[in-house]
Subunit: 250 residues, 2 copies
Amino acid sequence: MENKKEIIAGIIIIGNEILSGRTQDTNTSTLSIWLNTLGIKVQEARVIPDDEKKIIETVNKFRNLFNYVFTTGGIGPTHDDITASSISKAFDLEYGPHKEAMTILEKYYKPGEFNEGRQKMAWMPTTAKLILNPTSGAPGFNVENVFCLPGVPSILKSMLGGMQNSLIGGNPILSKTINLRTVESEIAKSLSKVQDNNKDVDIGSYPFFRAGKLGVAIVLRSSDQSKIDKCDIEIIKFIKEKKIEIIENI
Amino acid sequence: MENKKEIIAGIIIIGNEILSGRTQDTNTSTLSIWLNTLGIKVQEARVIPDDEKKIIETVNKFRNLFNYVFTTGGIGPTHDDITASSISKAFDLEYGPHKEAMTILEKYYKPGEFNEGRQKMAWMPTTAKLILNPTSGAPGFNVENVFCLPGVPSILKSMLGGMQNSLIGGNPILSKTINLRTVESEIAKSLSKVQDNNKDVDIGSYPFFRAGKLGVAIVLRSSDQSKIDKCDIEIIKFIKEKKIEIIENI
């Protein structure tokens, strides 16, 4: 298999409502799952408040650390939506009405309805590339390797497809899950040996409680199917020796 | 009202399964909501992989930035559970079997069942304070201002009560929510003025879609009820002028 460089990403969730616990973030998992399919691995996610200094600092840190950075939240029309102005400052770019975004929003609203509040949604780095929003008009935007998306999960989901051509992925990250009727401590030592023999495969072990019974999910992740298969064989071998029930192997 | 210093916290979610999107994190919101009731405000949350260097770096950064740090995940018996050893390194403390934890786990398991895998759950900084686990035996632990909890949400929840006496809170953070039948752009300008007049109150604006209709939730947060009330009056004033329907004011 051709060895492409690993492509990594960071996610920045912007919003006091996530940190107060009022809103449950789901955008991290939505983005992670979608990026996996493109062969892009999320290395870190941060939830930060609607604070200009913090946004600038985090974006500038992440855009140097990762191939791609995705922000969610803070691009609406109200005073607490400061992502677009903060990104402009992070990149030292002019913040103002984006011509193409203005045109899109003018068409989206009825005559007379494109008021000052709504116009704010077209304010961003004036040279940004737009990320089209098929659900509610107001576009996201992209500057260099940073992609800024809205916080509302359903709108964010509708915009993923439009970004796909702007991203260069790696080898898709493949996974295999082995669900066992056991507890972690029964398999810990043997599993640790398999991990030592297979350093390129990310082996995770996750206890679960389902239909009144305890179990453990072993998850193997790699971009190389043959490496996953080798691991799988080694795990099944010790599982059979220990006479542990295999619930699923998928 | 007595002016206590603001007490702030950071949350570190440790686990590849969150970053791959396989598991949806809910511990951030559980911890945030609980900390709010103690008057402790979460300033930042980070999701990081099961990576020793990254855990050490993040813990050492956070314990200097915040009054309290909470980690979740990575304290089970398998090879990918490296939080306890990483925390020992972060604090330069001996990592080994914790006497009190060993005693607890010996009692928890039937004779002969306290195997090597299970004993690993008693390995941690040997001088750590334990956080008792009423659900499944294996305790969490606390070193200075860092509290290490398991990743399984139901177990984590059962352990919160046991930490309460170790935390010194601030004034509880109070909140008020005004749900309106409107869209954000209709109120953006007026709300921005209210925020300018009331810099001490955190005013958030969150669009929602419920029962087929659009609305906006305005959330006021402060530790001072009189400041929230003042804000509320100013908001209700412009809402009435604009003839916007108030759905709830709670």
